[in-house]
Subunit: 96 residues, 2 copies
């Protein structure tokens, strides 16, 4: 039963996703990277999302493994083909 409790159930977590110019930001719950990408495409009208990157530093999130290390309410930016991450203006002071 220990295994059942820790490993096998999908774990839905809340995330926040901005578009490339940060004019729209949505809260989205997902249990994996693929799930998040699907939901972002629908919710944010980005039919051809090419990448999800971290809003804070533009780190590309390409794998489920890395995705699952992220904390609740991590802020993503969704990029379409040709769009690039840019640093936030008036970047807040990040502490970790």
């Amino acid at each position: 039963t220990q295994q059942l409790l820790t490993g096998l159930t999908p774990r839905f977590k809340p995330f926040r996703v901005a578009n490339a110019d940060r004019s729209v930001r949505k809260g989205i719950v997902a249990d994996g990277l693929r799930d998040l990408l699907n939901k972002v495409s629908d919710a944010m009208h980005v039919p051809c999302a090419s990448a999800l990157v971290l809003d804070e530093d533009g780190t590309g999130v390409d794998t489920e493994e890395f995705f699952h290390t992220l904390q609740d309410n991590t802020v993503f930016m969704v990029l379409e083909k040709g769009q690039k991450w840019t640093p936030p203006q008036n970047a807040p002071h990040h502490e970790h």
Copy 2:
């Protein structure tokens, strides 16, 4: 069972890796330096990576021992032969 929980499982940790001109940054999970180097080569299309250095100050990370002292989400730069680390421009102030 205590042993199983604490000692023997590989410890996968998240890292962030930039290329030499900092135009690309990826999140990568690895359980050791060799594993990270392999995954960086694939994910960042750097078939002949020659070194992993710390993005913040160019410190070369050559040993598993030092690697395992690094915190989650440490930022690396991958260098190919002939490439050199350069200081970040307008580096934001990071605290950990």
